[in-house]
């Protein structure tokens, strides 16, 4: 039942209340089901929903496993390693601190090593080598600061 996952989430809570969390991530459509994921970000941990019963990962966060309908979901930190699957450079968009559309803002969808077609989308670190910013490149999770909020970003991978 869903109560179990509520308990699992509460153990990871950092010291901000729900109202503050919602305020920080309102632009991301945060809700009860994605709260653990966004609390993870504040600790610079990429937390993805995983099923306790069938071990299936899913994203974006939902309250029930889409593979087996189990409610026993544990938000679980991933390695952050993966491969660029989709890639674009935004030259316009909503204004955001530290985002320079004039220079081109890269957005990478990374296929995570944990599971086939489990993906996470984020920007690239500022030092990402431009000539290796392409589909198929191995990457690792890093964090940048955006107006004081830890924000996931991928850097070039260092190994397999």
């Amino acid at each position: 039942m869903p109560e179990n996952s509520e308990e699992a989430r509460s153990e990871q809570d950092v010291a901000i209340d729900d109202a503050e969390l919602i305020g920080l991530f309102a632009g991301h459509g945060i809700d009860r089901d994605s709260a653990a994921h966004f609390r993870g970000r504040l600790e610079r941990r990429l937390v993805i929903h995983r099923c306790d019963d069938c071990a299936h990962w899913h994203h974006p966060p939902r309250p029930m496993c889409p593979a087996c309908w189990s409610w026993n979901i544990t938000p679980t930190e991933v390695s952050g390693r993966g491969t660029i699957h989709l890639l674009m450079t935004l030259h316009q968009g909503v204004p955001a601190p530290g985002v320079d559309y004039a220079a081109g803002h890269p957005v990478l969808t990374v296929e995570l090593d944990e599971q086939s077609a489990l993906r996470f989308t984020a920007t690239a670190t500022p030092d990402f080598p431009a000539d290796q910013l392409e589909i198929g490149t191995r990457v690792e999770l890093d964090w940048i600061d955006r107006d004081g909020t830890p924000t996931p970003a991928f850097r070039i991978g260092t190994g397999a």
Binding site: G27, H28, G29, H59, P60, P66, H85, L86, L87, M88, T89, L90, H91, Q92, G93, V94, A96, V99, G104, H105, V107, T109, A117, L118, R119, F120, T121, A122, T123, I135, G136, T151, P152
Partner: protein
């Protein structure tokens, strides 16, 4: 999946109304909706007293079916709904209402507006400043519109495609728009102009993206039987469907080789007696050019990754547009890229004009059937086969 198609040829589109589309609009969404609606009802040879169903597409800033009914002075309606944007959700809702007996004459109305989220001009207009699209302001997402640029990168990567087929979709639409008095953008587009287009979401440039406009389309649907007594040649809904795969979050879609487009095509092939070798007209959606390449491939005109070769082979240099096998034109009205971003109502309206013989200078002689495929990859792929009644 169902093989049943009891609605086949039982519902007709009998009325059309359109304001035309503009980049310099100064009317409210309700005013545009009412202009299109009254025109469509009159075009069907009907009055407000005949309308007992109102379907009002939930476009940003659009009024609901109850306010449309109030503004039109409808006496009573037994079917009134507010489907999501993208045309077939509303057309199918109306058709199913007619077929089920929920209502006899159903009005569909879809106003579209430029908003602060897609137009700098609109962002400076105080009448539009408060308009919301529901799109979340996060620069690091590959969702909504941005998802099409993201998957275009994958298409180019997997097939080694150039931008040539993307350019041909954009140029085809612009060429056809020149003959359409409703179209917002009619200046001719060359390959050179396309290549020089301002990059917006690399790999997609400004010519790969539909054109934000103001305007409205409206339709009236009734039974095939009632349609015979009305002024225009009826156009029948022969087959129609929507389709999604379960794993449809934009960045989680397993592969472009299995999307809602495939579900739509499989369902149309199960239920339609008419398919790509038979149709006289093709209206693949081009909200983004990558969507259109996928529709060509997924409908079976060419294999996956084959759109580049296909469009080059079926390009008419003299007319500067696509003509499939020298015969079937594509998006004869100029589509969402050049007529304006109607999310598919323009494609359906134009197909009906062609099939009933009211397409003016764009008329394709003897056109009897059309394949229309609105929607993208994720949560709104749709399709229909329309035929002359």
């Amino acid at each position: 999946m169902t093989d049943r198609s009891p609605m086949k040829d039982q519902v007709a589109i009998v009325g059309l109304g359109s304001t035309g589309f503009t980049r310099a609009g100064n009317r409210s969404p309700l005013a545009m909706a009412l202009a299109a609606a009254t025109e469509a009802i009159a075009d069907a040879g009907l009055t407000a007293a005949d309308i007992d169903g109102v379907v009002a597409t939930s476009e940003p800033a659009a009024k609901g079916s109850e306010e449309i009914a109030a503004a039109l002075g409808i006496a009573a309606a037994t079917h009134h709904t507010k489907p999501s944007p993208v045309a077939m959700f509303s057309i199918l809702d109306a058709a199913r209402a007619v077929f089920s007996g929920a209502a006899d004459h159903v009005l569909v109305v879809t106003p579209v507006v430029m908003g602060p989220w897609n137009s700098r001009q609109a962002a400076g207009d105080p009448w539009r400043r408060g308009t919301r699209s529901g799109i979340l302001p996060n620069p690091d997402d590959a969702t909504m519109a941005a998802a099409y640029a993201a998957w275009a990168s994958r298409y180019i990567h997997e097939y080694g495609a150039s931008k040539d087929p993307f350019a041909r979709i954009a140029i085809n639409s612009r060429t056809n728009a020149a003959d359409n008095p409703l179209a917002a953008m009619t200046e001719p587009l060359s390959f050179g102009m396309y290549d020089a287009g301002r990059m917006v979401r690399d790999p997609l440039n400004v010519f790969d993206m539909d054109l934000p406009v103001d305007g409205a389309d409206a339709f009236v649907l009734t039974t095939a039987e009632r349609a015979d007594a009305l002024p225009h040649q009826p156009v029948l809904i022969h087959a129609a469907t929507t389709g999604i795969v379960g794993k449809n979050d934009e960045d989680q879609l397993t592969t472009l080789g299995r999307t809602g487009q495939h579900v739509v095509v499989e369902q149309l092939r199960r239920t339609s007696d008419i398919w790509i070798d038979d149709v006289d007209l093709f209206y693949p959606y081009e909200g983004f050019t990558i969507i259109t390449l996928a529709w060509f491939e997924n409908c079976g005109f060419c294999p996956p990754g084959g759109a580049e070769a296909f469009l080059r082979e079926h390009w008419n240099d003299d007319t500067n547009r696509i003509e499939i096998n020298g015969r079937v034109p594509v998006n004869t009205h100029g589509g969402s890229l050049s007529e304006g971003a109607t999310r598919g109502t323009g494609h359906i309206r134009e197909a009906v004009h062609q099939l009933r013989g009211t397409a003016g200078s764009r008329q394709v002689e003897g056109a009897e059937s059309a394949l229309i495929t609105p929607g993208g990859f994720f949560f709104n792929p749709q399709g229909a086969v329309l035929r002359r009644g």
